[in-house]
Symmetry: C2
Subunit: 260 residues, 2 copies
DNA sequence: AGCATTCTCTGACTAAAGTCAGAGAATCGC
DNA sequence: GCGATTCTCTGACTTTAGTCAGAGAATGCT
């Protein structure tokens, strides 16, 4: 039943009831009853949160932890009952094929859409992007020294901001800055490390190009740092040609452009 | 709901209600209500069977066929929604990986057990085996000219009969004939064409050897025809050595034996 | 301070997918 | 011919997994 799933989702550290509810997508009334039933079985303990008296914290009791371990064990048993009749080679092939299916279904679940660059999710993406630049550039990265791409500059009609989401969670972004008298600029291309290699960067780039073309852009250009090798590979494979420096971005080593 | 599943399982040719029920594993009362609901929607027509007035035949009406096609279309749509965001290469990889998972899970669902060689399922397997020999041997195959391996000879303690089943359906067999003064003989190795290449032959052979050893056999031997190349490969790979003719089976070209 | 909002809980209700027992009609086995 | 079995149907009941409306307490906003 759903109680097992809930027990499992609580985790060994416990959590707030509201976060549990939103993670499992449960109705508040339903969640309340499920948790009370777990409490009656002495599998969990509910306590009011210290900070906010409305919020309830839920933790597994010792019995709850035992039960959770038992659930894991039974899941393992099912897995073994599938693997048991197979040879070692077949097991490896099964595990590999399932991982491949999982990867590709994950890839296909990533949705890309225009979003407002000023939302907290969008700002979170951009922070991740800056953080990654800071660790990868030899000299670190300070966004105030770099050419600007503010939320206003990336909001239509000045520009646009694309976000990639996996089951609701932001996992990538990319943006355009339109200019009246010069080519459209590509900015803020970032893909979360966990889902790299699934073609999300390629999809973001293709979608940005499609939308740039829709806005009448003939040429897209961008600058990038030599440490961002995957990005540079992607640009080259997507038809971008290296061109002479066209701006004075202090962190850039390469300038690319593509005629749409 | 389950009605769609039922509608789909009826098939375009219709079927008997009892076979539908056993295929879907439905309770008779529940099935009755589901089918009546489909009948009320004019998706199926129920008629008494000509032969047996207890049995009811179910057929899709024209509306039912349309509905079934619509169900297929919607399933296709879901499949497309998964494939749409992927590149052609990713699609090929997804389809391949899913087929691999399916193959390996099928392999792992095959259960091998000792069964009575006189049941109709066992006789069916042996007929399939004879049928295959008849088409593959240059001179055809007439079991009455071949060395016997009757149900009695393959029943413990004279011998034993293993059957491989996939979700209840027989898909392979293999047998042993024990002898007081000569090596145990291996007979009736057959695997249904649909599930070849999944390692079922190898498992049957390993299980026969294990049980032979359990009965105290030190050596297993067998004869086979040159046209049965997969079987010969399997025997060689499993450690069987070709030996001189040890019986006068008219259909045999090769004689093998393995010391356990 | 006071109104809106958030979080949780309770009670009432619902839909889907069954299970179970028993009955009636037809057929089988001897 | 007749008792046992098979097939189907009906009515009563259950379980699972919820939804919905509203209430109460705590907190946030201004």
């Amino acid at each position: 039943m759903g109680e097992s799933r809930t027990l499992w989702e609580i985790g060994l550290e416990g959590c707030e009831v509201r976060s549990l509810r939103s993670r499992l997508g449960l109705d508040s009334g339903y969640a309340s009853r499920v948790l009370r039933s777990l409490e009656r079985q002495r599998l969990v303990r509910l306590t009011p949160s210290a900070g906010d008296q409305r919020v309830r914290l839920i933790r597994l009791t010792e019995r709850g932890v035992t039960e959770r371990i038992e659930l894991d064990r039974r899941a393992d048993e099912v897995a073994h009952s599938f693997l048991d009749p197979l040879t070692d080679r077949q097991r490896v092939r099964l595990v590999d094929a399932m991982a491949e299916v999982d990867r590709l279904l994950t890839a296909s679940s990533v949705a890309i859409d225009v979003e407002d660059p000023s939302t907290s999710d969008a700002r979170w993406c951009i922070e991740q992007y800056f953080g990654e630049l800071d660790t990868r550039f030899d000299v670190g990265f300070d966004s105030s020294r770099s050419i600007s791409a503010t939320a206003e500059e990336l909001t239509y009609p000045a520009g646009l901001f694309l976000m990639a989401r996996l089951r609701g969670n932001p996992v990538g972004c990319g943006a355009l800055k339109f200019h009246a008298d010069s080519p459209t600029e590509l900015k803020r291309m970032w893909v979360a490390r966990e889902i790299r290699g699934l073609g999300v960067g390629r999809r973001l780039l293709a979608e940005l190009e499609r939308r740039a073309a829709e806005e009448g852009a003939r040429v897209i250009r961008l600058e990038t740092n030599r440490s961002l090798t995957e990005a540079i590979d992607l640009y080259r494979k997507s038809g971008y040609q290296e061109v002479a420096r066209f701006n004075n971005e202090p962190y850039a080593d390469h300038w690319f452009e593509k005629v749409l």
